[in-house]
């Protein structure tokens, strides 16, 4: 395994690196297949959580034959502890637009949508103003591509890609069966490339500079850097772009308050890493991946309360359609309450862990499937805190 140390990077928010006119007029002359090769070569994986190779996603969508195709920028950013997409859209929206346009060019789409988290509506006015300029530029460049914004209505599940499509189609945000995957049947059941905000910015960078510079960062499995949202018991909460592949211990050294007990990597749906595992935990796809959220807990925190909060969140935010998730979340939540109150014996936690394992394999979408991550990691590592 490659060993990296913590390294700050300045790609995403670097100003003056993106001149949409220059970049796009050049890119629109290129062969789309070459662009895809660059993205594949860069090793870029999706930054929205699932980590699917972006170049492949574009290739699959390009290969579909359809009159209509779509590019969607997933800006629903609902994962607790994540706030980096907001900052990107606020600071460097043009980089996102360019990424979408390049994607549109590559896959053969004429329409792009930004699905913007409802709580981020304060960004609407400025984003729309900038989009007007950008869309005008597309016209000028004689590129038939237009971006518009759709406002989300406040459910975490609408960040899941297929629920997002349903929501955009005016229906209830419920995840669909997969397959078919979005690359074949996404928005309006047409081929759709859906990418996270941050992913799109990296595609812009790779389009501009080629894959080499991006590839130089990170590890074999986790190329490049990513933007982290650091929160919790840290004196320097905020947004940081860091190289992938660092050991969690380095991260805690830089961001912790000296008394760090655990770090929740990847938000409520991520894993809780206790102090004894900091050194052996790599932040990246080979270790613990994260959509960017890093929540730091010091010894004053009750891990029961932490888990309880997460389970309350999932119990409320489950779309409710599938049994393992709708009922499972409630059972996990009420179950730890019952154990805490002594109404169930401590070994009921074993039943609950088995249930969480079932949710992981039987729930319909990533939400229900990931509840086991925080549940099992917290119960395994902080069992006493749950019981007593």
């Amino acid at each position: 395994m490659e060993h990296k140390t913590i390294k700050k990077v300045d790609i995403i928010f670097a100003k003056d690196t993106c001149n949409p006119r220059e970049l796009l007029s050049k890119t629109l002359q290129r062969n789309p297949d070459d662009i895809i090769l660059d993205i594949i070569d860069s090793g870029l994986k999706g930054r929205g959580g699932a980590g699917f190779p972006t170049g492949l996603k574009w290739k699959f969508t390009r290969n579909e034959v359809s009159e209509d195709k779509y590019v969607i920028c997933n800006a629903d950013e609902g994962e607790p502890g994540t706030f980096k997409d907001r900052e990107i859209l606020d600071q460097v929206p043009e980089k996102v637009f360019v990424g979408m346009a390049v994607c549109g060019y590559v896959i053969g789409a004429r329409e792009g949508y930004i699905y913007l988290r409802g709580e981020y509506n304060f960004l609407l006015r400025s984003l729309n103003a900038k989009l007007e300029t950008f869309n005008a530029l597309m016209k000028e460049l004689k590129f038939d591509f237009h971006i518009s914004i759709r406002s989300g209505s406040g459910a975490y599940i609408c960040g899941e890609e297929s629920a997002l499509f349903e929501s955009m189609e005016g229906k209830r945000g419920e995840p669909r069966n997969k397959p078919p995957y979005p690359t074949r049947a996404g928005y309006n059941h047409k081929p759709t490339a859906i990418n996270n905000v941050e992913t799109l910015v990296y595609t812009t960078m790779i389009t501009r500079l080629g894959p080499t510079e991006f590839k130089a960062l990170g590890t074999q499995d986790s190329r490049g850097s990513k933007v982290f949202s650091v929160s919790g018991d840290t004196p320097i909460a905020g947004i940081y772009e860091l190289e992938l592949g660092m050991p969690l211990a380095d991260f805690v050294d830089s961001f912790g308050d000296g008394d760090t007990k655990a770090v929740q990597v990847g938000g409520a749906s991520g894993h809780c890493v206790p102090r004894k595992q900091f050194r052996d935990t790599i932040i990246g796809f080979e270790g613990i991946p994260t959509g960017g959220s890093m929540m730091i807990f010091n010894s004053s925190r009750s891990m029961y309360n932490v888990l309880h909060d997460y389970l309350e969140f999932f119990t409320e935010e489950s779309c409710g359609q599938c049994t393992p998730c709708r009922v499972g979340c409630q059972q996990l939540l009420k179950g730890i309450e019952a154990v805490k109150r002594g109404e169930r014996k401590p070994d009921y936690l074993e039943e609950l862990k088995k249930l969480a394992d079932t949710m992981k394999v039987a729930a319909k979408c990533g939400l229900g499937q990931s509840v086991a991550n925080p549940f099992n990691s917290i119960v395994n590592n902080f069992r006493e805190e749950i019981i007593y």
């Binding site: 459910a155 599940i157 209830r172 419920e174 069966n177 397959p179 999932f314 119990t315 409320e316 935010e317 489950s318 779309c319 409710g320 359609q321 599938c322 049994t323 393992p324 709708r326 009922v327 499972g328 979340c329 409630q330 059972q331 009420k334 179950g335 019952a338 039943e351 088995k354 249930l355 079932t358 992981k360 394999v361 039987a362 729930a363 319909k364 499937q369």
Partner: protein
């Protein structure tokens, strides 16, 4: 489905199925049954209950076999340890939010959840009880349907039924997470929303969450009351459906045993809705010809065409809500059930020398909407509620069992008289297209003096299960008084299932299609697929029922409504003529617009 075959292995046994098949379909081919709950053959695939999960080699997660398409080289395990644990968990979870008081439940013994629980022997409950007290409050606002949220497993079969088959959308999913539930617009009671009472959701609800309002006890009480004369009428589709609830295969005709069973149960007089179905043809056929005459000869612009049928109360409520502007198109005829009811407490009472206040009029219907219809204020032409109780085919089957009758061993018996005589034309009312066919058989003969020009009276173009069907019949050789119809091409259309009715009526409303006469049945397949028929239902089962109906028609000596001797008699003795004064008072009505919200 594609011709391309995909090879896979299920439980190590190779199988080839067409590309696009699901794992459930492939497993069926090998006779491996994978349990399902949210799946229903009439509906889109939801994949939400997760009881059908299976293991696929190489995949991290289990897959929902109802939704997962097969792939070349796939290796599936339907009963591995991982699958069994997950499936059992799913069943236990469903039960943990379920008010499982089976012994008091109407679906006891007919419940898919109960069957699964029994199969997996989920005995002592591991998980905590999550049933909400508020969910135990029943919605019995509708005279047709009872909704019990505490028995709902959120499979959404009802929601898909109401939307995909009926285009009504009375039921929807609301809220998320632990508050997610199946409800109506603004949580109103079912009686106060656009629900048509068609009962199609009941037919597809796997549990006791949606069932008919049942009136068996009330009917037993009247049967056992010596001062009451209890008459019962049976709709055409009951005789081809009932057997399914009593141990027979779909497609069995049990007319004679049905009559026997009703007599054993103790009804004072066992009569046939077929009689008033024939009467409907006389009234409705005459109404159609009258409208045509007014339009063609008198150039009366107030006449509305096309005329639509009115015998499906689900359709009536639908049009009241959805196409109120088309209400003038609806025939003024009451449904056969209500014609029967009005005559039972007038004509029948007179003939039998009974005081109508002592007559209790019961009908056995394949339909839940007829329960609502019987309670309509329009339906009191006799001075009393014309039909007192409406029982579904399913309720009758339960009463037969309660009475300890061995149904399959019963001798065949004949309906009583009067109002017990029906023709083949009346029997086919039970299938989509049947009213149209019956009407054409009679109307054509009235106008031309000859039988309809179809082999053996079988008007095949209006038969079948296509959602909307059209036919054109050119009228030639008219009798002198109908010469204005000479050469007219009668354009007719038939729709069944409200989603198809909506499509057809939208075209009519927008003047994109023109017809003279339209038959609409609210339920898929017509009454034979009605919301009160035995469960389960599927295209295959409905097809078998349809075949039975047409076989019943062909087997009857009289197959044209106007030749029904009791119909001839009632016009002579009581009604005078079709659309006459008495007919108007007893057999016709008008409906009023309703709001959508």
């Amino acid at each position: 489905m594609s011709n391309y075959m995909v090879n896979l292995k299920i439980n190590n046994i190779p199988v080839s199925v067409p590309e696009g098949s699901t794992i459930v379909q492939a497993a069926n081919k090998l006779n491996f049954r994978i349990p399902t709950l949210c799946f229903h053959p009439d509906l889109s695939v939801a994949g939400n209950c997760r009881v059908c999960v299976v293991e696929i080699t190489g995949a991290r997660a289990l897959a929902a076999a109802c939704a997962m398409p097969v792939a070349e080289g796939m290796e599936v395990f339907t009963n591995s340890a991982k699958v069994r644990t997950a499936r059992k968990h799913v069943i236990e979870l469903l039960l943990s939010e379920h008010n499982a008081d089976c012994t008091k439940c109407f679906k006891n013994g007919h419940c898919e959840l109960q069957e699964l629980a029994a199969e997996y022997r989920v005995g002592d409950h591991v998980f905590l009880d999550l049933v909400k007290a508020s969910d135990k409050i029943l919605d019995i606002s509708s005279p047709s349907i009872q909704k019990d949220n505490s028995k709902c497993i959120r499979c959404q079969r009802c929601v898909r039924t109401c939307e995909e088959l009926q285009a009504v959308g009375a039921l929807a999913v609301a809220c998320k997470g632990d508050h997610q539930r199946i409800t109506t617009f603004m949580d109103k009671s079912l009686h106060n929303v656009v629900c048509t009472n068609c009962g199609q959701c009941i037919n597809r609800c796997p549990t006791g969450a949606l069932v008919e309002r049942n009136y068996m006890e009330e009917v037993w009480d009247h049967i056992n009351n010596p001062f009451k004369h209890v008459v019962v009428q049976t709709a055409p589709a009951v005789r081809i459906g009932l057997g399914e609830d009593l141990g027979l295969e779909p497609g069995h005709r049990v007319t004679g045993k049905l009559v026997s069973a009703l007599k054993h149960i103790g009804f004072d007089s066992v009569l046939d809705t077929d009689f008033t179905a024939d009467l409907t043809i006389m009234e409705e056929g005459t109404e159609l010809l009258t409208r045509l005459k007014k339009a063609i000869v008198d150039k009366d612009e107030t006449v509305t065409l096309p005329m639509t049928t009115s015998c499906s109360p689900g359709w009536i409520k639908f049009i009241e809500h959805t196409f109120p502007e088309l209400l003038p198109n609806v025939s003024t005829c009451k449904s056969p059930q209500q014609m029967f009811g009005a005559l039972a407490k007038t004509y029948y009472a007179q003939k039998k020398g009974l005081d109508p206040k002592n007559i209790v009029s019961v009908s056995i219907m394949p339909c839940t909407a007829k329960k609502f219809e019987a309670n309509r204020p329009e339906m009191r032409a006799s001075g009393y509620q014309d039909v007192d109780y409406v029982l579904t085919t399913r309720e009758l089957a339960m009463m037969i069992k309660q009475a300890g009758i061995e149904f399959t061993k019963l001798d065949d018996m004949h309906y009583d008289s009067i109002m017990g005589e029906g023709t083949g034309a009346a029997v086919i009312f039970g299938a989509t297209g049947g009213v149209m066919e019956a009407a054409l058989r009679t109307a054509y003969e009235i106008v031309t003096g000859r039988e309809v020009p179809f082999n053996n009276l079988n008007i095949t173009p209006v038969r079948g299960m296509e959602g909307v069907r059209e036919a054109t019949i050119t009228i030639t050789g008219t009798r002198p008084e109908w010469s204005f119809l000479e050469g007219v091409e009668m354009k007719v259309a038939v729709a069944h299932g409200l989603v198809n009715a909506k499509e057809l009526m939208t075209a009519v409303r927008d003047q994109k299609a023109s017809y003279h006469f339209i038959e609409v049945m609210a339920c898929p397949g017509g009454c034979l697929g009605g919301g009160g028929q035995p469960i389960p239902t599927s295209a295959d089962i409905r097809e078998k029922r349809a075949q039975a109906i047409y076989a019943e028609d062909e087997g009857l000596p009289i197959r044209k409504s106007h030749e029904n001797p009791e119909v001839v008699q009632i016009y002579k003795d009581f009604l005078g003529e079709p659309l006459g004064h008495r007919s108007h008072a007893l057999l016709h009505t008008h409906y009023k617009p309703r709001k959508r919200y």
